[in-house]
């Protein structure tokens, strides 16, 4: 299996003033070359620590990382990995073009600098000094720096932070264009929509573990449940639960609460079947809540109980 990316039994703890924090508690993932995978999870799920271990920036307490059959350090030294780290400013006193040229010079087979500039949407800003860029432009330059080596694996740790809506759209378009060339892309995000729109597969992490792993459509159905609240005095909960798109239904006095797998279908059916329904509210389940539901007990000892891993159809 030298063609892909293997994470085996990754464990990492950090010390802080409160003692030891287990950031990653046993990660097993196998990613084939050419896949685009979203690492999805709330803050503190262990996404960045996992990415740091994949890059060789952090050494795992136990377990191993293999990138195309090599250790992270060898893969990095061979110029096969590009990354946008979660935090990081640019060095000052160089123009965007100079900075990208400087970084390109470090790699054995870099992309053409002008091509990277255009791919990252930096044509207008290429002559500007790095200290004069906006937050969104800085992110684009960091993306260009990650791309310039023409890497086989691109790791992006929350890449769209501080980008505006248009910037995000352009960024993901550029990322998908790159991935379309057969490259492997792994990105961390806590936005389900980003994962859904840009990845083939999502790996959900919570409390340092993988809680679900599968195609984004399945993940979306699983965590994307929405709740419809409405006033409907004489409805039968069993009838409500049978409506299309509704998973469960509860009644509290005059109000009903419907948990829905497909809230669009559910609301249409609800209005059609019960025209008298009023005070309708639709609320999306937050990703964090969904993650908390998916994780059993965050503080159980992984030695007495194996890490929970929910397999969704692959």
């Amino acid at each position: 299996m030298s063609s892909g990316i293997q994470l085996e039994g990754l464990v990492k703890s950090f010390r802080n003033q409160h003692g030891s924090v287990r950031a990653v508690r046993g990660i097993e993932v196998s990613i084939a070359a050419g896949e685009t995978v979203a690492l999805l999870g709330p803050n503190g799920a262990g996404k960045s620590t996992t990415i740091d271990m994949m890059l060789g920036l952090t050494r795992p307490d136990s377990g191993s990382v293999s990138l195309f059959g090599r250790s992270p350090r060898d893969a990095v030294a061979a110029g096969r990995v590009g990354a946008m780290l979660q935090t990081g400013a640019l060095i000052r006193d160089l123009s965007v073009r100079e900075l990208i040229t400087m970084m390109a010079s470090l790699y054995p087979h870099p992309m053409d600098v002008e091509e990277v500039i255009s791919l990252a949407g930096l044509t207008q800003a290429a002559g500007q000094r790095t200290q004069k860029l906006s937050g969104g432009q800085t992110q684009r330059v960091r993306f260009a720096v990650a791309l310039v080596s023409d890497p086989d694996l691109l790791l992006l740790d929350e890449p769209t932070v501080s980008m505006d809506v248009e910037g995000r759209r352009d960024f993901w378009a550029a990322m998908r264009a790159y991935a379309a060339g057969g490259k492997t892309v792994i990105f961390a995000t806590h936005y389900l929509e980003e994962a859904d729109a840009n990845a083939d597969r999502a790996v959900l992490m919570a409390h340092g573990r993988i809680v679900a792993d599968g195609p984004t459509t399945e993940i979306k159905a699983r965590v994307g449940t929405k709740t419809i609240r409405a006033t409907l005095p004489d409805a039968d909960p069993a009838e409500l639960a049978a409506l299309p798109g509704v998973a469960t239904a509860d009644r509290h006095g005059a109000s009903v609460i419907l948990r829905c797998a497909d809230s669009d279908r559910a609301i249409r059916a609800l209005l059609e079947r019960y025209p008298s329904v009023r005070d309708i509210e639709i609320a999306g389940a937050g990703l964090e809540e969904a993650f908390l539901e998916l994780t059993s007990d965050p503080d159980e000892d992984p030695h007495t109980q194996p890490p929970t891993r929910v397999e969704i159809a692959r």
């Binding site: 890059l55 060789g56 920036l57 952090t58 050494r59 990095v76 030294a77 061979a78 110029g79 990995v81 590009g82 990354a83 780290l85 935090t87 990081g88 400013a89 640019l90 060095i91 000052r92 006193d93 160089l94 100079e98 900075l99 040229t101 400087m102 970084m103 010079s105 470090l106 790699y107 054995p108 720096v145 080596s149």
Partner: protein
């Protein structure tokens, strides 16, 4: 040699950073003219056998170049804080090439500082035979080696906020103890100074002018500090990056 382009841009960055450029090159020059300008006719300063303009040219050359070398620490601390060091660690640039670029950039600044002080000295009537200029330059460049390592060590130990005062304080103290501002010919400070690399840096000029060279003691002190500080820099770097 790997990282040549990288080094070229490092130099470009150093030269574009005006504030840094002005402070590390301008300050020694200003001090020189303020101190030596009004005293240009003192031909035998404090009985050490050389004129005051020559004495201070040598002093400020050592002070200025020492400052230029240690200031690589400020650049490293800045890059660490910006997360740039981490970005570089995920490139094929070797640690060795990274430090080589940093040290050679500092040396370039030091050489410019040195040349400016030579020109300033000449403008105040300092006149030396060619071999003295060359010997002095050679000894200064060798004497700066421990400070290159010190710069890297401080850069990985300190934060951007603390490194300015630490660097300034270190250089000022070393300058006093090493006889930069006034000759120290005997007593405790003299005995202490002998064991410091900065003393020999200041002595590089005088030794070249009087034709005595450094002597065994000077070479040994410079070599010892270079080895010790290089080892320390390696240790601090590994601790800072968690890399083996």
């Amino acid at each position: 040699m790997s990282g040549l382009t990288y080094m070229r841009y490092e130099l470009l960055r150093a030269f574009r950073n005006r504030r840094f450029f002005v402070f590390s090159l301008g300050v020694p020059l200003v001090i020189y003219f303020v101190v030596a300008g009004p005293n240009r006719n003192v031909h035998n300063y404090n009985g050490v056998g050389i004129s005051l303009p020559t004495y201070y040219m040598v002093s400020l050359a050592s002070f200025g170049t020492m400052l230029a070398m240690i200031s690589s620490g400020a650049r490293i601390a800045g890059e660490r804080q910006a997360g740039w060091t981490r970005q570089l660690r995920i490139t094929p640039l070797s640690v060795r090439a990274y430090f080589r670029a940093k040290v050679l950039t500092s040396y370039a600044m030091a050489v410019i500082s040195l040349l400016l002080l030579y020109i300033a000295g000449a403008s105040l009537g300092v006149s030396l035979p060619a071999h003295s200029w060359l010997a002095m330059t050679g000894l200064v460049l060798v004497g700066l080696l421990p400070f290159a390592a010190l710069g890297i060590t401080l850069g990985h130990l300190m934060t951007v906020e603390s490194i300015g005062p630490i660097t300034g304080g270190t250089v000022s103290l070393l300058a006093i103890v090493s006889g930069t501002w006034f000759p120290i010919t005997h007593g405790f400070l003299h005995d202490l100074g002998q064991w410091l690399p900065s003393y020999w840096l200041v002595q590089a000029g005088r030794a070249a002018i009087t034709g005595h060279g450094w002597g065994l003691m000077g070479w040994a002190v410079i070599a010892g500090w270079t080895i010790a500080l290089t080892a320390l820099a390696g240790l601090v770097y590994r601790r800072d990056t968690g890399r083996v």
